[in-house]
């Protein structure tokens, strides 16, 4: 990780090449680390009742860890009847990617196809690595290398996980339901750095648990999301934020 934000001006070719090498190294490292837990997504997706090809389709097209875990989590609890709630949960968890795009669009530059490809791989990891680089070119390199490394690694390991999950059979006996809960803890943990986030997390968990016996599966999670809207709107317990950069960074689970 480079420390000084403006270490070298872009006019020194050697320094620029050095920054690019650092960006590539960081992107590949993040890609490898992320790929490691693609296995758990693949296995849990099959455990939730999805087929291997459905599991791979999600990792290729949706390609956003939090949304993917949410989709299969809600489907595992409520079955196909919870479909609309599963779609809504996945979409709401994908909202932050849209916010990241505002920061990464100037890094990518113009061009319809380039932007379309870039938006596909705009996730926590690619955004965080890109924004951490000191020069415009190293930011661009960091974004593409990280996005592609995660995309390739995540999809290979999703398939491996799905094949393992398919072979395992009885998933409860192997504790895969607990593994799914643990995976969500891992996605949440890095985001609990501020008091406001902790308060929202506790309140949302209480709301979801309380509503579980009362409303149809999937809905408790969606209703709990209202906690975030209300607290965020009035900024209760909050200070100032540079939200998108901080959010992308805290989404990293290394």
């Amino acid at each position: 990780m480079t420390s000084a934000p403006l270490a070298e001006p872009a006019t020194h070719p050697e320094a620029e090449a050095h920054q690019q090498r650092l960006a590539i190294r960081e992107g590949v490292a993040v890609g490898l680390a992320t790929a490691a837990y693609g296995v758990s997504f693949g296995a849990l997706s099959v455990a939730a009742g999805l087929e291997i090809w459905q599991t791979s389709f999600i990792s290729i097209v949706m390609f956003s860890g939090g949304s993917q875990f949410a989709l299969i989590g809600v489907l595992a609890a409520g079955g196909v009847a919870a479909g609309p709630a599963a779609i809504a949960s996945a979409a709401l968890l994908g909202v932050r990617n849209g916010i990241y795009g505002v920061r990464t669009a100037p890094i990518i530059g113009p061009g319809v196809w380039k932007r379309l490809a870039a938006s596909w791989i705009t996730i926590d990891e690619s955004t965080a690595v890109a924004l951490a680089q000191p020069t415009p070119r190293s930011r661009r390199v960091g974004f593409w290398v990280t996005g592609l490394a995660v995309f390739i690694g995540w999809n290979i390991t999703t398939l491996i996980g799905a094949l393992i999950g398919d072979a395992v059979g009885d998933t409860r006996a192997y504790g895969l339901d607990a593994a799914a809960a643990a995976a969500f803890v891992g996605l949440l943990w890095p985001r609990l750095k501020r008091m406001q986030a902790v308060a929202v997390a506790v309140a949302a968990a209480v709301v979801a648990a309380t509503l579980t016996p009362l409303v149809m599966p999937g809905l408790p999670v969606l209703i709990a999301a209202l906690v975030a809207v209300v607290v965020g709107l009035f900024n209760w317990l909050g200070g100032s934020t540079d939200a998108s950069a901080a959010s992308a960074r805290s989404g990293l689970r290394l």
């Binding site: 932050r96 979801a208 648990a209 709990a224 939200a243």
Partner: protein
């Protein structure tokens, strides 16, 4: 709805949201309130999913081997254990407790 329809709709929705940041005027999303809500939305949904995944069993709330597994997982994440290791240990804790009881 079939499983395929659910998967395709959800995937398109998430992909479309990624495009939004490249299409809308930056001023719209860069205000503090929308980005703060998006940030907290992620937190609230993940926390709610933990609660349901740990305590839910259909529409009932149950106390079983998942609770100790999740507590162990939280402890391991607190000391910066890698994701895949924690998920494996959580599965082992739950599977072990179920095998014993």
């Amino acid at each position: 709805m079939t499983v395929w329809q659910i998967i395709i709709l959800a995937s398109i929705a998430v992909l479309a949201l990624k495009l939004v940041g490249y299409l809308v005027p930056p001023a719209l999303l860069q205000k503090p309130t929308p980005s703060r809500i998006a940030d907290l939305l992620t937190v609230a949904l993940l926390a709610a999913l933990i609660a349901v995944q740990t305590l839910g069993s259909g529409q009932a709330l149950t106390v079983d081997a998942r609770i100790p597994a999740v507590i162990v997982a939280a402890g391991l994440f607190a000391i910066k254990t890698p994701f895949i290791v924690v998920v494996l240990v959580a599965a082992l804790v739950a599977a072990g407790l179920r095998a014993l009881t």
